[in-house]
């Protein structure tokens, strides 16, 4: 799944995939864990998350 992360402090917008993030974390991490952390960061107002569907990607 492609996601866009907007960092509120630097206003950087990073487009990456969930798979890529899991790979960066290490072998025994799951997508669920990464999503959980991203959600927590969103709740703390550190980032803004934009989930991108495949169909939307095609449109872009």
């Amino acid at each position: 799944m492609r996601i866009q992360i907007l960092f509120k402090d630097t206003k950087n917008l990073v487009t990456t995939t969930l798979k890529q993030l899991v790979e960066d974390c290490g072998a025994d991490y799951t997508e669920f864990e990464v999503l959980q952390v991203l959600n927590e960061m969103r709740q703390r107002n550190q980032i803004q998350l934009i989930m991108m569907n495949q169909s939307r990607l095609k449109a872009i």
């Binding site: 960092f7 990073v14 890529q20 960066d24 974390c25 864990e33 952390v37």
Partner: protein, 229 residues
């Protein structure tokens, strides 16, 4: 607790050793003391190895008994085929080699903090091992359901002694139960498990957060797989 142990260290107490049938040739002796010496041996065991090289004095120090008593119990374990002893007469430090022969496939995993707690007597520790045996390992709720008759059979003692053991374990904060209730909770171990898992999840979360934040600090060239707009 006097000593601080690593929370990942567990003592393997084979179910076979807890069964009374294993000791059928030895009647009218203190079986729990023999079981305790087996536990003391495990103190010096390195992970994944069946061989332990240690002196009798050091084994005795773990549980607070002397060298001669240790040897009696070790010989008893050898006769039962639980361990194998190779005496080294010429060793300067008096170290011998002990090999674990008993089948450890089914065992009660007892944390080192509890297993080598000097406040616990041999019978109390074995009672705790039996209670651990009765818990559902899949649920990890550390609850065992056992009525008095079951406990009498498992601990191999009278009804009065069972309630004494239960009360002693409750006083030491290891278990909790309500009167006339079959439900017994292994409170100490449950708390140990909860704190351990929360520490682990916190560490993992911190690691993921670090990775996500690193994406923010990266320059455009470095971040080849992701696009920074």
């Amino acid at each position: 607790m006097e000593e601080k142990f690593n929370t990942n260290q567990f003592l393997k107490m084979p179910y076979k050793l807890l069964d009374k049938d294993t000791f059928q040739w030895f009647e009218n002796i203190d079986l729990n003391a023999t079981r305790l010496v087996y536990c003391a041996l495990q103190y010096y065991r390195s992970k994944g190895s069946n061989e332990i090289r240690q002196s009798q004095t050091s084994i005795g120090k773990v549980i607070g008994i002397n060298k001669k008593q240790v040897l009696i119990h070790l010989r008893r374990l050898e006769e039962l085929g639980i361990i194998d002893i190779k005496m080294d007469e010429f060793d300067f430090y008096g170290w011998n080699t002990y090999t674990i022969l008993i089948d450890e496939k089914y065992h009660a995993a007892i944390p080192f903090e509890i297993a080598f707690n000097r406040d616990l007597t041999a019978s109390q520790l074995m009672a705790y091992c039996n209670l651990k045996r009765m818990t559902n390992l899949k649920n990890k709720d550390f609850i065992c359901y056992a009525d008095n008759a079951m406990l009498i059979k498992a601990f191999d003692c009278s009804s009065k002694h069972v309630s004494k053991l239960k009360n002693a374990l409750r006083e030491k904060g290891l278990i909790d139960f309500k009167p006339y209730d079959e439900k017994i909770t292994l409170v100490y171990e449950k708390n140990l498990y909860i704190t351990k898992t929360t520490i682990n999840t916190d560490k993992r979360k911190q690691h993921v957060e670090k990775i996500v934040k690193a994406k923010n600090n990266m320059e455009v060239k470095q971040n080849a797989n992701s696009d920074i707009i």
